[in-house]
């Protein structure tokens, strides 16, 4: 303990700023992981509907594609068992001043008339006697009848009133079933199944929640992996800090060993130092993570809402278990990163008295070995990238990414020496360049680690940047082919992914009679539960799509023939993510519940689609209406006749549908809003990248400061030899610029490799999308310039310290 205090803790106290920078780097790394985990739980873990909380214990639930005919309820109630059936409807209502709130329709027999408001929401409504809400584009003012003593924020209406407000008559979204304690559960379940149409799904409660979680697993998994970037960068920095610590205390270690200290004692001392950084940093990180989670939860919920399903963020919960897990994670990362340098300390011979120059010379000789290992890891990465997904997760892709990062780190010394050699004739003309270049190559081991850490952060930024840009470009191109109609009509108001508010029946007639329209295609969206996953069953007029649309099919598939084959037949198209997720190809047959039947459809073709990773199964409108008669359309596309005045038609449609709460948008507006949604969903990604860069910058500052403090005697000598304070400052800033340049070179190469993995392996295996590769050179260039600038800024403080050293003191202190 005393050894720890004198050899480790005391120097840490003396070097308070560096100690603080290292702890802060660990803290930020852990904070991001904790924040993403907490926010992810809060944003996606609240699928258990508030209504379930309200109705209490439920044993079974019934759902069906396109809803359940409410007449089936009578057959169920007539069953001779002690069973309670609770019919339910569900929709999102927009409450003025509050936003989207779940609205439930339930059997409220005996309760006061009017809207029932949950206690949580009533508080925010300020005790008003009526609530104005917008649903499917229509505004309703409803009197408040009662306040429910229940947590959460939701509204409940009696079923009949709910059907009126939601515009969905005769259909239920779900029936919750509670079986009496004395009943034979299996018998009751069999009887209920017998009373339901074959197409209805009878499930245990929680199945939908599990389905939701399953739907989000790839999204959450990828987000979680991204959140580990900062921690990986932090691990490099701990490695660096402990390496510096070992190098500085080499003489002391030699003396300790000569005095009889065991190797394990020496190793233990340095592992203890790392553990200290890990535990203190992680403890701070957990606290910081809890704060950051507050911001992250909104960003994640936005993405979930835009891409998957309605999610209302739940309260953030940081449990004691999570606190411990966070601290253990920080400690493990710190210990793992320090293992190498601590072992090096253990191997210091008692009589070792090597000069730094000789030691560094040896380091320079090992760059070839590093390069060979880098090639080996790169080869392994290539192999891992070819692996199939494991359980739906792109494990091979991420293993390949880790191996690629390792390869880049091992190649760093060769790069430092190589760039130094190439730039030698150039920098030699400037004394800053000569000294900075030499200093960096002289501290090759340390320089390489900080270059690798910075490069990892830069590579992550570049690769995610390329991936997002490729995705964006692909989506933009796809929107061009997908959005061929001139005007689009949908119910007004917000609706999350997976929700399909219906167009009022009258609207269809009005739109069909649009003057100037060449064709109108009505699209029907219906939530579909397929093989334990969510998807969308869609239907449209395939003849209109064939004549006016530009649906893109996978290579080798004849668009015209496929679209012609759909009307009037049990044939379907599937989107690429749907096909990939369920391993389907053209010609395969799928069985889905529709209405009261289970229908077998032949897949006619697979088309590119980028709006949902859950996927679409599309049939012709005639097929849908055959099985789900009366199913309302959810939006419409209007193709104008040649020569029609689009503005005039737009105004005409708006005028004629004004009473039905619909939004009419020109093609460009829809396209713009789709791109805006896309950009919003990637906001969290950029936030994670930024933190990784900040951690790397802390590392750069920390490392430069260590270099300055270690070389203070040399800096003092320079002053004796006539260097001005400005020249010393310039030299350190040049070193920072060199570090940044090296990191950018390595980071770009690594980033390019990682982007290929993200685009062609991780994305494909996680979400099933084919993305066209597109590197945003302008954006990348600007971002890299900014990173370079910030690296130089990170050198300002170390440069100031270097310039202020007292030459007389530092030269004579040894």
């Amino acid at each position: 303990m005393k050894l720890l205090r004198t050899l480790i803790l005391r120097p840490l106290r003396r070097d308070l700023l560096r100690t603080a920078l290292t702890i802060l780097a660990v803290a930020l790394g852990v904070a991001v992981v904790v924040a993403i985990d907490l926010a992810g739980d809060a944003a996606t873990g609240s699928f258990r509907s508030s209504m379930q909380t309200l109705t209490g214990k439920t044993d079974l639930e019934v759902i069906a594609t396109g809803g359940i005919d409410e007449r089936k309820l009578a057959a169920l109630v007539a069953l001779p068992f002690d069973v309670h059936f609770a019919p339910l409807m569900e929709a999102q209502a927009i409450v003025a001043g509050i936003g989207a709130v779940p609205l439930y329709g339930a059997d409220l027999a005996g309760a006061p008339e009017g809207l029932a408001v949950s206690k949580g929401l009533a508080g925010r409504l300020g005790g008003g006697k009526s609530v104005t809400l917008e649903i499917a584009g229509r505004t309703h003012a409803l009197a408040v009848g009662q306040t429910l003593d229940s947590g959460g924020e939701f509204l409940v209406l009696d079923l009949a009133e709910a059907q009126r407000v939601m515009g969905r008559y005769g259909k239920l979204d779900r029936i919750d079933i509670t079986v009496g304690a004395k009943e034979d559960f299996a018998r009751v379940e069999a009887a209920i199944r017998g009373a339901l149409p074959v197409s209805a799904l009878l499930e245990k409660p929680g199945a939908r929640s599990e389905e939701n979680q399953r739907m989000l697993r790839a999204f959450r998994w990828n987000l979680r992996v991204l959140s580990y970037i900062s921690l990986v960068v932090g691990a490099f920095l701990i490695y660096n800090t402990i390496s510096v610590s070992v190098v500085r205390r080499r003489a002391e270690i030699g003396i300790l060993r000569a005095m009889g200290a065991a190797r394990s004692t020496v190793m233990g001392l340095f592992l203890a130092e790392a553990l200290l950084f890990g535990v203190v940093g992680a403890a701070l990180g957990v606290a910081l993570g809890r704060i950051l989670a507050g911001g992250a939860v909104r960003l994640i919920a936005d993405t979930v809402n835009a891409l998957y399903t309605t999610s209302r963020p739940a309260a953030l919960e940081l449990t004691a278990g999570e606190v411990c897990a966070g601290i253990v994670m920080g400690a493990m990362v710190a210990l793992g990163s320090a293992l190498g340098p601590a072992r090096e300390a253990m191997d210091v011979a008692p009589v070792e008295a090597m000069s730094r120059g000789a030691r560094e010379h040896r380091a320079r000789l090992s760059w070839r070995r590093g390069l060979v290992w880098a090639a080996v890891l790169a080869g392994l990465a290539l192999g891992a990238s070819q692996a199939e997904a494991t359980g739906g997760y792109p494990v091979g892709g991420y293993v390949a990414a880790l191996l690629a990062i390792g390869a880049a780190a091992l190649a760093a010394p060769a790069l430092v020496l190589g760039v130094n050699r190439i730039t030698k004739p150039l920098v030699r003309r400037q004394v800053y360049g000569l000294l900075a270049g030499r200093s960096l190559t002289a501290s090759l081991g340390r320089t390489s680690v900080i270059v690798a850490a910075l490069a990892t952060a830069i590579a992550m930024m570049a690769s995610v940047g390329i991936m997002v840009a490729s995705f964006r470009e692909t989506v933009a191109l796809w929107l061009d082919t997908q959005l061929r109609a001139d005007l689009y009509v949908k119910p007004a108001g917000q609706s999350a992914a997976g929700e399909y508010p219906a167009l009022a029946g009258e609207v269809q007639g009005l739109l069909r009679a649009t003057y100037g329209a060449a064709a109108v295609d009505f699209f029907h969206g219906v939530p579909l539960h397929f093989r334990g996953e969510r998807a969308t069953l869609g239907a449209g007029d395939m003849e209109v799509v064939r004549r006016y649309g530009r649906l893109l099919f996978l290579a080798g598939q004849d668009r015209d023939a496929i679209l012609r084959s759909l009307p009037g037949r049990d044939r379907a198209l599937v989107s690429e993510p749907f096909a990939n997720k369920h391993h389907l190809r053209a010609g395969d047959r799928v069985t889905i519940p529709m209405g009261e039947q289970v229908v077998t459809l032949t897949i006619a073709g697979v088309y590119y689609e980028y709006s949902s990773s859950q996927g679409y199964l599309i049939v012709d409108r005639s097929t849908l209406l055959k099985y789900l008669p009366g199913q309302a359309a959810t939006n419409a596309a209007i193709y104008l006749a040649k020569g029609a005045d689009r503005e005039a038609v737009l105004r005409d449609v708006q005028l004629r549908t004004a009473a039905y709460g619909v939004t009419v948008s020109p093609n460009q507006v829809l396209r713009k809003s789709a791109i805006e949604i896309f950009d919003r969903t990637f906001a969290i990604t950029w936030a994670l990248e930024a933190v990784a860069i900040v951690v790397a910058m802390l590392g750069a500052a920390n490392s430069l400061l260590a270099l300055v403090l270690d070389r203070r005697r040399e800096l003092g000598i320079l002053r004796y030899l006539g260097a001005s304070a400005a020249q010393v400052r310039g030299m350190i800033l040049t070193e920072a610029a060199f570090l940044g340049l090296l990191a950018i070179l390595l980071g770009l190469a690594l980033g390019f490799a990682l982007s290929l993995l993200l685009v062609f392996v991780v994305n494909k295996q996680s979400f099933g999308w084919t993305i066209q590769f597109h590197a945003p050179w302008g954006l990348l260039g600007a971002a890299l310039c900014a990173v370079w600038f910030v690296t130089v800024v990170a050198g300002l403080y170390p440069a100031r310290v270097a310039a202020r050293l007292e030459p007389v003191d530092v030269v004579h202190e040894e």
Binding site: H361, R438, L718, L721, Q727, P807
Partner: protein, 227 residues
């Protein structure tokens, strides 16, 4: 009598230690002339190194005046002092103090590079040739013996033809043979380059090459001997 390169007039230097002031130099007056070697001799702690730092414009006296080539160091800004050192002063240290990251040639070249001079490599090579280490130009400092390292340090100190060369125990870390080589180089530097050499030393052999020997004790000059 040669041109005075360094003049110290009534120079005192004190350091604050807690609430006490410790005087390490007391009213020292001294003159070092072009082409001569002046040796400061005395026990450890007598103030030799402090005097060298004042003489080399690395520190300021508490009282009195230091003039290098006729310019008082007290009247100069930090930038002007740096320029003065860069152009007119050279240093040789007991522990050689070569920069471990630079080659031998680059170490010698460094003062010229810092001054932004032209033809730095040729001049540095010329000095290396003079100290007999031309073949070591591409070596790293850790590949040199102590004597070789100090000869490189002498070459570096003279590469910009300084008027004043400050040497702090230049033979302190060397064996006898290497020490003699270094001393003869210093002696030759005075005659060949016309530099005034101010050298602190414990060694009688080193003191023997000096024209002027300044005996110091407790921060004061005890005697100045000329030969």
């Amino acid at each position: 009598m040669g041109t005075p390169r360094l003049e110290l007039s009534g120079v005192s230097k004190s350091y604050e230690s807690g609430e006490q002031s410790v005087e390490v130099l007391h009213e020292v007056s001294l003159c070092a002339e072009a082409g001569t070697v002046t040796a400061l001799v005395g026990r450890s702690g007598c103030g030799k190194s402090t005097l060298l730092n004042l003489a080399g414009a690395m520190d300021f006296p508490t009282a009195g005046e230091v003039r290098i080539d006729g310019r008082s160091t007290a009247s100069l800004s930090d930038g002007e002092l740096t320029a003065l050192r860069r152009e007119r002063v050279g240093f040789v240290f007991q522990a050689f103090q070569l920069l471990p990251t630079l080659t031998v040639l680059e170490n010698v070249e460094l003062p010229l590079l810092l001054a932004g001079a032209a033809k730095t490599a040729a001049t540095a090579m010329d000095r290396l040739r003079w100290v007999g280490l031309e073949e070591k130009a591409a070596s790293m400092p850790y590949q040199l013996s102590g004597g070789q390292a100090q000869r490189v340090a002498v070459a570096r100190a003279l590469v910009h033809s300084p008027l004043l060369l400050i040497a702090d125990e230049p033979t302190g870390n060397l064996d006898e043979a290497s020490g003699e080589q270094v001393l003869s180089l210093l002696r030759e530097a005075a005659t060949r380059y016309g530099a005034a050499i101010l050298m602190a030393t414990h060694s009688a052999e080193a003191a023997a090459i000096a024209e002027v020997r300044v005996r110091m004790r407790d921060g004061r000059i005890q005697a100045i001997e000329r030969q």
